[in-house]
Symmetry: D2
């Protein structure tokens, strides 16, 4: 390790689930120094006070600050924005172009490339339309080359990560697909840290249900990237559900095929596609389980060919806060900075 390889980063929004995961991951990253992490809830508290098991790196004790100081913004090499919808663009509007730092927006403001799509799915005008094209869609396994050269990244949504990684090999092939129906199940942390009656323990424990069945916002992002990956437009039915768990997304993708395919053909498609992707593992006909990825940056994918109904069923699992958010963001940072893609991301998980 050469010390001057180190970079300085800032984190805006450190008290959300994703921001906090970033703080944890980056505090153990070989080449990163956290310059600041903002949090309104935790301002002036040490990270180790907020999270008792957090171990500071040597003498440097990280405390949350309320806002980033100008001096700090000038020093950093990269900033992570972990903000709710609309807040990233508000933050960037004031400072766009003023600083040299690269940006990874872990929020949702710069994922959609068409401002019309943005308005349709988010119900409001985008206030930085002209900058939408500056941001590369940060799904590493698909856009690695673009990410490498990019200054600005729009980190993908958690559902889209699980869905697009499951679909990409099929979309890239010439397999005829007549219909795509997606049924996703997510742990509760996907909803963020909101103080609502519906997120109380008593409301979620031993419970399960669908929500946003008429059109979850991620649908727009999914359809945009489906087209970007395969070159063909699809309208997909997407239905998210809430699991009585804190972390994890299990996605079941049902593709109605327009032609016959063998299991061997499907297998070789996925194996070739992901042979150089350290964080995606294709398991063939073995169906992945959520507990195998919770606490890790892995995406596991399995499939099943239901020949009675010409349905290709693809199952993919991720930890929504890692490969679906903070882990994916660090993976992008590693690529952008020329670090080993895996650096800081090889967690053991909680698989016993």
């Amino acid at each position: 390790m050469i010390m001057n390889k180190n970079i300085k980063v800032g984190i805006i929004g450190g008290s959300g689930f994703t921001g906090m995961e970033l703080v944890k991951i980056l505090s153990r990253h070989k080449y990163v120094e956290i310059s600041f992490a903002t949090s309104r809830i935790y301002k002036n508290l040490l990270v180790s006070e907020v999270f008792p098991s957090y171990q500071d790196n040597g003498d440097m004790k990280l405390a949350f600050t309320c806002q980033p100081e100008k001096g700090n913004l000038e020093k950093i090499d990269l900033i992570f924005l972990c903000l709710p919808p609309l807040k990233s663009m508000e933050f960037l509007k004031c400072i766009y172009g003023n600083y040299k730092f690269k940006i990874i927006d872990v929020g949702s403001d710069f994922r959609l490339k068409s401002s019309d799509d943005y308005k349709y799915w988010y119900g409001t005008e985008h206030i930085l339309k002209e900058k939408l094209s500056d941001f590369v869609y940060g799904l590493t396994e698909i856009n690695k080359d673009k990410i490498k050269k990019s200054k600005y990244i729009a980190n993908p949504g958690c559902y889209p990560v699980s869905i697009l990684l499951g679909l990409a090999p099929v979309l890239k092939s010439n397999i005829k697909i007549k219909d795509i129906n997606i049924d996703s199940k997510s742990g509760v942390s996907g909803a963020g840290r909101k103080l609502k009656d519906e997120y109380l323990f008593g409301s979620l424990n031993n419970n399960f249900y669908a929500y946003s069945a008429e059109g979850h916002r991620h649908t727009g992002e999914i359809e945009q990237e489906i087209e970007n990956i395969g070159g063909k437009k699809y309208r997909v039915s997407f239905t998210p559900h809430l699991l009585p768990m804190t972390r994890g997304i299990f996605t079941s993708i049902y593709c109605k095929l327009g032609e016959e395919k063998t299991e061997e053909q499907i297998c070789s498609l996925f194996e070739n596609f992901y042979k150089c992707s350290p964080f995606v593992k294709f398991m063939g006909k073995r169906i992945p389980q959520l507990k195998d990825v919770v606490g890790t940056n892995m995406c596991l994918i399995g499939f099943c060919l239901d020949v009675r109904t010409d349905t290709l069923k693809i199952f993919s699992v991720i930890d929504n806060l890692l490969k679906g958010a903070a882990g994916q963001a660090v993976q992008n940072m590693n690529i952008m900075m020329g670090f080993d893609e895996k650096e800081g991301l090889q967690f053991n998980g909680i698989f016993s």
Copy 2:
């Protein structure tokens, strides 16, 4: 209550989840006396020893027995069979026609009406083929009149209950359906009480996954009854998943429509269909939640019309051990015996 309205029943297989629920329900039923309940695991133990909160009815203390005695078989009015696949037909083969009692087979042996279908889905020859047609498919809301007149009932499987109740109003109407895709999520008790590594707490807690994705046995039963209800054959894609919960099934049904329908039309369809069904409640566009039915005999149904993809999404929830098994069986008994359909089945649930 006129005392001589009372009937005597027997339960074969009282130590499985379903058998045990039956013992509980029937011990509180106004018009029922349990003559015997068999259980290999619990034989000679009092029910109140096995389940400490069980309260015996007055002085009569119910103990599990190993096998039913001939004398007991002669006295009872109705028998419930709560046995694993193949075991109900083996039991009945020896005694078929020897006794006057009515039969409710809570197991899976007499649900499929074609012995070819049986062989396809269960992988073995049926040993009482000629009796398959004696058994009425016991989904009360659909077959109430037949059940009333029948001596033998094949109680439906837990997944089919949740699926068929969700689909029936649409199937009975003249709505054009191009494709049916079903994604069900079940609590662990659906798998029965098996001593396997995969059913240990450590294997299921904080976990979720799909299983039997290539063809769960219930598919045959679902397709058979879809045809019986609507008069039209469909091949359905059915994918069951396992929830980290003990009880409950949440089913998401995706119907690709072949014509435009309004939400009002869907609503009136369901409202009319279930207006006389005390245990099915249509909630319109409100999506039901699993915790609202756990511990009850209710099936709650909601829907959503995704006009972007012409998809009618129907969501239905049940407690797999009650409306999906033991409760459904008692509901059938009530109908067969001329009792109030609701007698013994109005549980409050655990909804706080």
Copy 3:
């Protein structure tokens, strides 16, 4: 059932966990008609809208109201108060003595008999001091005769129910106890329905911790009743903990004995004490489990004699919302009104 035996009741505070359980229990009670149930959150909503599986009794549809009307207060025979600390006495201060109805205060305002104790444990002056002695402490198994004759009942706290039922037989005997140490573990619903970060699913799932370790308010109530039962004062160490479950209390009581006792002596003590108590079951040396009581009105008690340390360990379990609150309240109502003590309270529970 003779119809004119029916009584009319009112419920103040129907949207809390306890109030809701009361609505459920009383809607199935043979001899009770709910005249009104108030709830600020749910006002004007039907109970069956709030809780989809709730089944109205025939045509009568119960809707929550904001406040009880004077006319309604005149008609009812009994009122249940399910209110947070301080609110019961505020409510009663305005109307005390104006109406004929009996009162069961399910809240905590009238449990302590000394206004000094009240001030010590609740940190504020009691505003109806002179009425404290009007209220009988409503732990049925201990005070049945007084409850029968009483007009006003202070329903016990959930922890005290589990603790006092476990201790009573020992306290009533002449066994020498040197020290009492109590370690209780409660499901989350015990804290009521509060919108705080610490009660979110993400805060409690897979978590466990102690709270109020320096002196939980129930300590005063426990020590008062220990003295009332045994005639001897004790200072007890009481430490509550929070379980990652919705319902249930498991209490471990450690009594340091001042003399040698045999297991047989302990057994006969408990067996005699509870032989006429339908809702308490002594299980001897078998340790009770929480899942055996969730959803029931039972208290199960087991014990263990650790002769190495002269410690009598008593274990008791209840459902905090039933035997620890709403069920206990209805049991008291049954006694006060001359109904069968068990009426409306024989739930099967969720024990599979």
Copy 4:
């Protein structure tokens, strides 16, 4: 990193929860190469097949073997034994002294120093009595100097780790303690991976209970080390309970004090004691929570002084599989080998 600092280790019993955690930890340890890991269940399977998210180190793919080969035993520097009671001594009896490797017995065979104690608590004769004194009790924070010089380590039990770390500062001081009562609550993985009805998901979900209340085997180990630490004998009442969680131990220690102490005195006692212990964090009067340690090697400790009853309440939490087993074992290895005590053990945990 100097490559020739690397050591080779073997793991006996790699399919148990502890063995598996060791494989995970050691596969990421800078200075360790796993020569072999045995497992009867998984023999010949790659670790990455058994645990899909496991990432092999470069080209070396680790596969489980049935038994260690003699050649392998000769090459290794250290062996970890993760075996059930009696099995470690059987394994060692055959080979004791034949090899140069150091031994860390993660099992329970060499913790008790008196063979009489062993017989009392384990109900059988020890077959390597004369070797008991060769093994140092491996609680790093207490015995670091001895561990450094030792060849053989008896890794402590999970309950004792949480209890002894909570008690040690008090025992080492001259505070008068009249009585020690311990109430521990453990996640299910503490029981190991046993195929029993009581460990099924349906038996443990939403459940909680005490077990081994008359004398858990760890009591002997606790009392032995209490004497070793403080020089004074105590008989402690110890009662373990089972939490509906996979991992974690929460221990509540109740010390009846024989003299008055202030909170400040207690605080400075703990702060001094643990100021150089990277894996123990004293939180003062803040009560630790289980979710703060799950997935980490930390022990968090808080306290409360109940002056009404002269009770010092100490609360400690650990992850039973890490600080309570595999993490503790690696910490000992680091000390024995002269590595940084923290190497390979700085996990972020799952604290959001």
